[in-house]
Amino acid sequence: MIRYFYLPVDSFYHKLDPRSKILLTVAHLIAVTVLIEQLWLMFALLFEVLFIVVVSKTSPNIKRIRVVVVMVTVMSFVSWLFVGHGETQIWEFLYKEPMLMGISSALRNSIGIMICVALLSATRNEDIAQGCIKFGLPYRGAFAFSSALRMAPVLLGMVLTVFAAQKSRGLDIDHCSFPARVKRSIPLLVPAFLLTMRSTEQLSMAIVSKGFGYPVKQRGNYIELRLKTADYICIGYSILLSVISILIRINGWFSVFNAGI
């Protein structure tokens, strides 16, 4: 069963404003997206993100999803290796450019996952939503997003309860092949869907009774966000990282191979 990612530990990264953490995450995602050909810089970013993971004490969550990280890394490399087009032949069907592109893709995806897991591990759902609102996302959209983020583990638990109820009635989805397991799980979508939607009326009444939907110019919030010196340094670093990455990409500096893009 999935649990929330948030880890309630005391770290420097936890104390940052959610806006600076979101900007730092986006800056890293921009950097790994544009620095396709700059492999050494990607390795540097990887070490930097690993440093953030260690400093933020969020490595338990990285361990939790290590299977996903490994799968993404391997599949990124393999998909380019056998299908990409290159000019410098190494051996038989192996070419240098797709191989390097595969390494670049593997680094990009694994860095992206780790920096986002660090964000989720060090920031509560409510803080993420409030940070998005401060960035201009309408309150209702942020509410829908944070509600979905909060309810996903709860609904997964409900789906697993439906599975358990059917198993107690003789449904065998454990001692069979993966395709058979999928086929037997499909009819369980119906009760899961209807059980979820049944609570719509109550939830909508609950939020309306708390004033949701009244047109207000300035909505107050229990969570008050204030930027501190460390946040400004983090934001400055994020902007610098993004701008420098884009400049490097445009000018082709530190390029290790030609991706042909």
Partner: protein, 262 residues
């Protein structure tokens, strides 16, 4: 497409967005480990997406988009998640638009004609999703080759809703209608584009835009080895613009809406 904005006035629709997003995410997350490509995994949850669009309208579309984004946080997040968000939005939005562009629009698949109508909606939603997602991941971000990604997306996202969606709609619609959760019972006709004069042109543009984007991109990838980058982006963009223009033209009829609205 003004319905995607006007629906946020209704708390019940916002609740439907949250719940459908949470359920979609809950059904996607367990399969994140079974990855075929980075960010592309086996997706049983896609069975409910066209149904979400047809039953909940724009709320289903926003729910699919947000649900996919939430699930991405658990394994495949990156800038490509932006296009995952858009692709899943259209995955539910397109079948809803095409379903309600005709005459007999009750969300029930109890006749052969209705089943065929649903299959057309499901196909159109798959084309829309593949064209948008592959455009973003391959042409914009150069994450992986187009000729690898597009066929796999058809396999992982297209088969399950095509096969299972029609019976799911019939199973869900009666109960949801009784609970007053169909979007036609919550929202008002003024919240939508009504008038169906341009529907035929709109549907043609929607189909040709999405299929054209995929066809041209696959041609460039297989024949000319242009799998990523600006050339691919430049050539496939007009098709996607045509697709969007087509969606904007499709309208609904006022008779589809019932009396009691919020």
């Amino acid at each position: 497409m003004k319905d995607i904005i006007t629906m946020w006035r209704y708390p019940k629709m916002i609740t439907l967005v949250s719940l459908s997003a949470a359920l979609y995410a809950a059904l996607l997350i367990p399969f994140k480990s079974f990855m075929l490509l980075p960010g592309v995994e086996i997706r049983i949850a896609t069975a409910i997406v066209p149904a979400m669009g047809i039953l909940f309208g724009p709320a289903g579309a926003w729910g699919a988009a947000i649900g996919n984004l939430v699930a991405d946080f658990f394994g495949s997040i990156g800038l490509g998640a932006i296009f995952g968000f858009l692709a899943n939005f259209f995955f539910a939005y397109v079948p809803y638009k095409i379903w309600y562009s005709g005459k007999d629009n009750l969300p029930k698949t109890n006749t052969l004609k209705k089943v065929v109508k649903y299959l057309i909606c499901s196909l159109s939603s798959t084309f829309a999703q593949v064209s948008v997602l592959a455009f973003g991941l391959c042409a914009v971000f150069s994450y992986m080759p187009y000729k690898v990604l597009a066929p796999i997306l058809f396999f992982t996202n297209g088969i399950v809703p095509f096969v299972l969606g029609a019976p799911l709609i019939s199973l869900f619609s009666a109960r949801l209608k009784k609970w007053g959760l169909l979007f036609t019972e919550i929202m008002k006709p003024d919240d939508f584009r009504t008038g169906r004069m341009l529907n035929t042109i709109g549907i043609i543009l929607t189909f040709t835009g999405s299929i054209g984007a995929i066809g041209v991109s696959l041609y460039l990838g297989i024949v000319m080895n242009i799998d990523t980058g600006l050339t691919l982006l430049g050539i496939s963009s007009p098709f996607l613009l045509a697709f969007l223009a087509g969606l904007c033209m499709i309208g609904m009829q006022k008779e589809d809406f019932s009396g009691d609205n919020e």
